[in-house]
Structure formats: structure tokens, C-alpha cells
Symmetry: none
């Protein structure tokens, strides 16, 4: 459906919508474990919420497509994940709360180690600490002479990761990664992937050639690899599209970045999930829409740590009743994508979802997991439908047509 | 799917298709009632039909979107409800069986009461009877001097409602409602919502200024409010698209209007549902496709009258066997949208559907209601798919491709 159809129906009211998002929620049965991570976890509060909700399964992008975190979250917030797809560079820049302009080209930078022959010996430069990356960013910025008309921004992100932003007229994002994604090979030159990238590639090469010289006396981080070149584009905010004043309670840079790109306010980083729920309680009066992001289900899944992922659900479960106690008009619990411990990676499997609201047509689902949700009333839907459903259940959409 | 794909497969035969439509069929569980209206109703014939049918749920427009009756019915008949969406004015004009031309701009008119200061004191003019509205329409038509090149038609609809049609070259539907939708405010001037509406707005204002003078001596209905301005557009008929000679057995003006816009013949208005079924029996030999429309489920839902909506199902239930006795090749029972008594309004919830045909892959659904249909063989589908399924089960579609 054309997103404008939905936007034209939006009205404002005093309702509250909470999206409680477990990153990488969905899983797969692991041999010997007796089911999926969600099936094995003891999670009485989540299951009770499932009994009081309408349940189903969401396809983040499309059956068979494993999403990155960017498009998976765009879909959850009602943004077409394919048309709105954006490079890693912009997500990283937004994640460090850098104010991008439409003249900006952003890339994710990794500090790396080159051996005596100029080949990469460590793509992560021995996982140098964030402070050291900060020092290196300053060192490069102080000495580099950027091409005329250009401005360079370089900011540490976490450990060996940094954000590289070039600001100039006429920049193009048609640039291949300089990271060969393996050791034993030299960094690649920034090559245009289309004719319009030629001038930009030349400008980047001038900068990267200097970076190699400037960092040559460093013992570990003596070079920088760039990937995910992306031009900034402005997205209409959740407030502009749906009339939702929104708060993100998320602790990881990329998710904060996505929220920021969509015009959400960012709650300061908190130490753990209980303090995220506290933040939700404290600021519940201030906003219409709350995005609470729990990272660890995905992290444990990526590590192949089935029991660890089970523990994430068990530890977060008691907090669910504190969220319910706030009596949001619409409470959605779901994930951005599946990260089965069995696969140790993001996957294409659809993600369990439950929606709790007074107007929900509660189904017969008794437990919150991948198989039970199969018989839920939401059926199986693209994740991009979720925001429209949440708005409808919050009374924020008028009728279509006479 | 591009509708032309379907249309190119259509063949004619002697089969009969019946769409038995409960307006506002779907509901929600009401606290204390033990389920939804359909779950609570005693309806042995509908349930027996469900056991002999393939069942499922239809989304009228899209998950989360509450439809007006116009788009909801367009979808049932296989017309894209978004692309075919049409303003209230045209639906109202078609409902009073006015022959629209493509020079016509139609609006829904309400007679209203203005107080001494010119503010609206009653948006429905004390619900004057239809006959009085008819007299007022004549009074206006007799005295008004329409701008050069224009022709004005004014017809009573029901009670204080009337249909306003302006016929002229170059009219635009980019005109805002003159109904401020509240009392204590004056009627609005007809304002253009886009530059192309400017001339039309000026012509409408000339007419409405006179209407105010002409009606000024009326005790109750001393002004008229206009809304839902819509230019007529011609739709290809059910016969042109699907080869179906069609009869509508519907008693309410708007549904008769929709049927008429899609080229159906209209059976004269009948007093009740049993007489609608009698009409179906009597004229079963004459057509390929029958649209039988039961209004009252929606009306009781809009009133919040749960028990009343239950009674509609219980009263109509015995008639189902008379419809089955006609042995239509395809019998579909469904609704245009949900109207849960709990919400007292049209809603976005999907609508139960059952399709009975010799070629139906009968599923295990035992009762006809919102939760049972979740496990039906039709799954959850957009309502616009229904006509193609009916044609297939009627043997009216040939194979696609070699």
C-alpha cells in the first residue's frame, strides 16, 4: 500500500504506544535443547501477555531475506525497508549523534594493522580501546590536508570503529568498500562503482593516501578501512508521518542512530534493561510513542549461545509486568529479525509478535514463541504493516473513504 | 496482481455465484458476553455451511485500515479499493439512481438549521422527514439562478439528506466541505483545495448564497451543508470485466448506488431480509451473479447493540438454507468490513468469509466466527482477491500461461 494512504488517515490523540523490541528475537530449535530459545525459556509474564494479546509472525523484509538491523528497524517503524534502505555509513554517523547535512558522504571506518608489506594483518587493529581510536581520529584530522572545497569529520564509535564523514558539493555514494574483508591483502583503493563516483573516489584516495602516512608510526592501528559509503538523505519523521512524538530508549549506537534518523528523541544511554524500563516509567508522560530496544538476544544468538539467549528472555520477563502496569494503549512485543543461535547470524525466519490493546481481537495463543504464534490472529504479515496496526489500535486512524 | 491478468482469463458459462453480504459482519469479544457477536449467536445453518465450505478472513483494504462502505464493497467485487476510491457525493447520487455524466460534480447535502446569528444550531434540521426535504429541493430548484453554462440537480435522499449535482464543463472536485462538522459555527464557503478548484468554488458560492436566501423563511431547514464533492468517473462493469450479468438485492441507497456504479441491475427495494431471499429465489434464473446485502448487522454494531447484532445473525440464519437450496455453484458469505459493537464503528479487523462450491478444498472449520476462520483454508487475504476465487470456483477462469 502506498504509505501516503496511511499518513492521510492519521489523527492525534492522547494514546500511548510502546514497542518493546528484542533484537534478534526469533530462533530455531537447537538439537538436544527441546525447542527454540523462546520455547525453552521460562517467561511467565511474556506468556501471560500473549494470552491477553493478538499474536502472529512478522516477515522483516520478505520471506527468505535476512535483514540487516537498519532495514529491519525501518520496517518496524512503518518505513518501507527496501525503498528506505540506507548504507552503514549514515547509520554509524547517526549513531554517534553527528548532524549530517545533505552534502555529506558517510562511511564506517575500521582502524586496522598493516604488516611490513602493506597487507592487512588484523582488520580490527587488536581491538584497540575507544579512547585510542579517539586519539587517532584527532591525529588524522590535525595533519590531513583535505581537497579544496571538502571538509572531513572523523569520530570514534566503539573500540576500533570510527565514523568517517566527507562534506562537499557533488559527492556520490557510488564507491566500493576499501575493506577487502580478509587479512593478507592490502586495503583497496576507493573505486567508483558507477561513472558518477569518479570525482568522489579521487578525493577519497587523496585523503586515504595521507592517512596511511600519518598513521605509519602507530604500532597497531596504522591504517583505516572504509565501508558502507552512503549519502545522507532525510526521512520524514515519525511525528511528520504519524503524528507521534517519540522517545527511543536504546543503548547501542546503531539503534540510536536509526531512531535519530526518524526524528525520535534519544534517552541517554542506560546501563541495563531494568534501567531502560525505569526510563520508560519516568518519561511515560512526555511522549506518544516509545521504542525500547533490548540488544542482548541478538548478541547471544550471534555468539551461538543458546542458553545465554534463553537467559536474556528469562531476565527480561519480570520487567514486562512493569511495562503493562503503565497501561499503554498499545503494547507491542516483537523483534527486528530472527537470530537463531543455531545459525549464529541474522536470519530470514519470521519473528513472533504480540499486540496488546483493548481493541485487539485476542486469539487462542497461550505462549509467546515461534510455533504458537503461527495460529495467532495477526497471521503472518510484513513487518512494515505493524505501525499501521498500532496506530489503528491506538485510535489514531480515521476511516478510509465514504 | 494487475486486474487485467484476471480479466483476460474470464470465460462465460451457466454457473451462478451468490455473494451474501452482512454489512459490518466482523466483531470483537465484548466483556461479559462470552465472545464476539458471531460466537455468541445461535446460527446452526451458518455453522453447517462453514463445515461444508472453505473459510478464512478478509482484509477489506489493508491491515489497520478501517474502510468506508464504498471502498469495502469495491474490494468485495474485485475492484482495487484504493485506486477506485470515490467521494461520498457520487455514491449518494448513484444511490438515488441519478444518471451521472462525466460533466457532473456531486455532493452529499444535509439540510440544517441556522440560528439568528447565522451559526448552525442543528446539523440535521431536526431530522425533517424525506418528504419535507423533497419539498425544499423543489423550492430551491424553482428559485435559484445557476451560473451560465451550469445545470443544478437536487434530490432528496432520506430524512434531512439530499444529493446535490452540478453539471457543467470544467468542474473540479478539489473543493472543501462546507459542513464545519459542528454546531455553533457558520457554514463554510466552498473553498478550493487546489488551484484547479477555483472556478468551481466560485460557481458553488453563487448557488449557496442564493440557497440561504431562498430557505430563509423556513422554520427548521433554513440552509444546506455540502460535503464529499466528487466528480463522476465511469467504472468498467462486472459484465465488462468478468462477464457477469449481475443483480443487486440491496435496500439501502448507498449500496444500491455502488451496485449501480458497477453496472449491476437493481432489484426494487424490499421490506426485509426474507423478502430479499424471496427476490433471489424468484430471479435466480435471470442473472449470473447476485449481491444480497443485509444492512442490519452494521447498524446494530454502530449502535453498540451487541445483543441486537447477535439477533440479526440468529434471524437471518434460517434463510441460509433457502439460499443453499437454490444450489448456486458458488455461495460466499462474508461482510464488507467489521463493525464491532464494542467500538460502535467500522473497524480494521479482518472479516470472516466462507466459500461453498463443489471445488472448494473444505477445511476443518466447524463454526462461522472470527477465531474459527483463523484456521480456515483461505487463510487471511485481501478482500479484493475474493472475486477471482469465486470466478475460479465457478469454472469461469481459464488457465494462465502455457
Amino acid at each position: 500500500m502506498d504509505p501516503e494512504v496511511l499518513e492521510k488517515l492519521v489523527v492525534r490523540n492522547d494514546s500511548k504506544i510502546v514497542f518493546f523490541i528484542f533484537d534478534g528475537l526469533g530462533g530455531l530449535a537447537m538439537p538436544g535443547k527441546g525447542g527454540t530459545e523462546l520455547q525453552v525459556a521460562r517467561k511467565p509474564n511474556l506468556d501471560r501477555l500473549a494470552r491477553d494479546s493478538i499474536c502472529g509472525l512478522l516477515d522483516p523484509i520478505h520471506p527468505g531475506i535476512s535483514p540487516g538491523s537498519g532495514p529491519a528497524h525501518f520496517a518496524l517503524f512503518g518505513y518501507d525497508p527496501i525503498r528506505c534502505n540506507i548504507g552503514r555509513g549514515v547509520l554509524s554517523a547517526a549513531g554517534v549523534e553527528f548532524d549530517l547535512t545533505d552534502r555529506d558522504l558517510a562511511a564506517r571506518a575500521n582502524f586496522c594493522t598493516l604488516d611490513g608489506k602493506g597487507n592487512i594483518s588484523d582488520r580490527r587493529a587488536g581491538r584497540i580501546p575507544t579512547e585510542e581510536a579517539g586519539r587517532l581520529c584527532e591525529k588524522v584530522k590535525k595533519s590531513v590536508r583535505v581537497p579544496a572545497g571538502c571538509e572531513l569529520f572523523l569520530m570514534p564509535e566503539k573500540e576500533y570503529r570510527a565514523v568517517f564523514v566527507l562534506r562537499a558539493d557533488g559527492l556520490s555514494e557510488a564507491i566500493a568498500d576499501t575493506d577487502p574483508q580478509r587479512t593478507g591483502a592490502p586495503p583497496l583503493d576507493p573505486e567508483p562503482t558507477a561513472p558518477e563516483g569518479k570525482q568522489t573516489a579521487a578525493r577519497l584516495k587523496k585523503i586515504l593516501d595521507q592517512v596511511r602516512v600519518i598513521l605509519s608510526d602507530e604500532p597497531r592501528a596504522n591504517m583505516m578501512l572504509l565501508r558502507g559509503f552512503a549519502k545522507y538523505r532525510r526521512y520524514p519523521s515519525l511525528e511528520e508521518r504519524f503524528g507521534l512524538r517519540s522517545l527511543a530508549i536504546a543503548n547501542y549506537p546503531m539503534y540510536r542512530g536509526i531512531a535519530r534518523l526518524l526524528g525520535m528523541d534519544l534517552h541517554p544511554v542506560t546501563p541495563d534493561v531494568p534501567s531502560q524500563v525505569e526510563a520508560l516509567e519516568r518519561r511515560f508522560g512526555e511522549y506518544d510513542f516509545f521504542f525500547l530496544h533490548v540488544k542482548y538476544a541478538d548478541s547471544r544468538g550471534e555468539d551461538g549461545d543458546f542458553d545465554g539467549k534463553v537467559r536474556v528472555f528469562e531476565e527480561v520477563d519480570p520487567l514486562i509486568d512493569r511495562v503493562r502496569a503503565l497501561k499503554p494503549d498499545v503494547l507491542v512485543v516483537t523483534g527486528d529479525h530472527s537470530t537463531p543461535s543455531l545459525l549464529k547470524s541474522h536470519s530470514w525466519h519470521p519473528v513472533p509478535v504480540m499486540l496488546h490493546a483493548a481493541s485487539a481481537r485476542v486469539d487462542r495463543v497461550e505462549t509467546f514463541d515461534e510455533l504458537s504464534c503461527l495460529s495467532g490472529g495477526l497471521g503472518r504479515q510484513p513487518a512494515v504493516n505493524l505501525m499501521g496496526l498500532a496506530l489503528a489500535h491506538a485510535g489514531r486512524l480515521v476511516k478510509f473513504g465514504a
